[in-house]
Symmetry: C2
Subunit: 226 residues, 2 copies
DNA sequence: CGCATGGTTCGATCCTTATCGAAGCATTGA
DNA sequence: TCAATGCTTCGATAAGGATCGAACCATGCG
């Protein structure tokens, strides 16, 4: 009948509250065990197990056995991207919250998306790198621009080893607030990692927010200006 | 409890096959009546009516009464974008189709997304405009670049009147094949309109595909090269 | 081996929701 | 005013699927 991709199948997988909670919990790109996810979703283990089986069967999650633990993770960037986009719509059409809580604000400012920086800072970084020709849009993808090699050398990020990986070096990822993008891919991950190593920022253990220290903010701003 | 947007609510709206069919039918940005959508979804009118009420209530569709007809349309670009992204995931994780039919190929090459050009040609156009500095990424959004005014003047597109509209002039929209973007917004719509007016291409009445004529293809390629 | 822990499978229950026929409301046209 | 069209509401039915307790498998540890 229809030749088009079966979007209802995917959407209905995300459409159950328990599963949506699980997926959201995995948005930071990490892997969690079945019991952790059960807790996260607020259901008992049999229920969680059933949901997880469906998510794996549906291709949204991958499963890795380790001893008697089973670790579940998002099956890729595309899933994280999709969840972000759905979040964006839910934000707009959802009930306007009276006032966004402090954690909400922090998430908007900077958060981890799979394995790279998202939120206002992520977008600002991406735009800055593009406008300074450190990155460049070419053909289909984001690429290293003319000023890129020098920039990343100075940061101590080795482009050679990164581009050897199987995953794409650069990718853009749509943000919550739909019309902005931020940098994903191996390079996006490496940038975030560098910032964390230098203690510019740390993760909020309670959420996906990335909390910048005052000094970290200054360093980050300097990075943006070049 | 959770501060995050309620993605399950939105996803479950899309997760019903009948509703998904309706939404897909509206992906071309047009408006359809309740009975047309019922037909499209393959359900009777009472069922369709119930679904449509939910979609409006959920903020995914808007309703416009005209006489004894009720026209439903996507409530905005963000909804179209979301559907494209979900399609992208469904494509990847879905059952590998034996061989894509001819219409499927046409859709991939060029199709209408809400009101602008998507697919390979849409992506190619977007990239070309960016690399030739006709468009530029700056701060948060896509903007007119240094070479833009002249380019659009020559095409007979009046940027002044377009930017007067309430909707953003430029936007990027994530494509099916997730890592590419194409141009949306008022300008994206105007570009597609221009090409249709000049008979470079026409819509396939059976699908969302855009069919280029041989001459249209050449003109389009010339447009890309500058 | 025996026991604890992590996880799945099974079966029963229950709730949600998609569905449609029939009746009702609204708008148009005669 | 009456009839026709477009759509919604109501009520009943049915089906899907989310949930959990109990029993069952597997791995690791003493």
């Amino acid at each position: 009948m229809r030749e088009e991709p079966d979007i209802a199948r995917v959407a209905s997988l995300v459409g159950d509250p328990a599963r949506a909670n699980m997926l959201t919990a995995l948005m930071d790109g990490g892997a969690l065990t079945a019991s952790e996810l059960a807790l996260e979703a607020g259901v008992t283990m049999p229920t969680a197990s059933s949901h997880l089986a469906k998510l794996v069967e549906g291709g949204l999650l991958t499963l890795q056995r380790q001893g008697r633990h089973r670790y579940y993770a998002l099956s890729g960037h595309h899933v994280a991207s999709m969840l972000e986009t759905i979040s964006g719509v839910a934000e707009r059409v959802g009930p306007k919250r009276a006032r966004p809580g402090p954690r909400d604000t922090a998430m908007r400012e900077a958060r981890i998306c799979y394995d790279h920086l998202a939120g206002d800072r992520g977008v600002a970084l991406y735009d800055s790198l593009l406008s300074r020709r450190i990155l460049a849009l070419r053909d289909d993808t984001v690429e290293i621009g003319p000023k890129g090699q020098a920039f990343f050398d100075e940061l101590g990020i080795d482009l050679g080893s990164l581009s050897g990986q199987r995953r794409p070096l650069c990718r853009s990822c749509l943000d919550w607030s739909v019309r902005r993008s931020h940098l994903a891919g191996a390079l996006g991950a490496a940038l975030l990692e560098t910032m964390m190593e230098r203690k510019w920022a740390r993760r909020d253990p309670q959420s996906r927010a990335i909390l910048f220290s005052p000094a970290g903010k200054q360093n980050f701003e300097r990075l943006l200006r070049g």
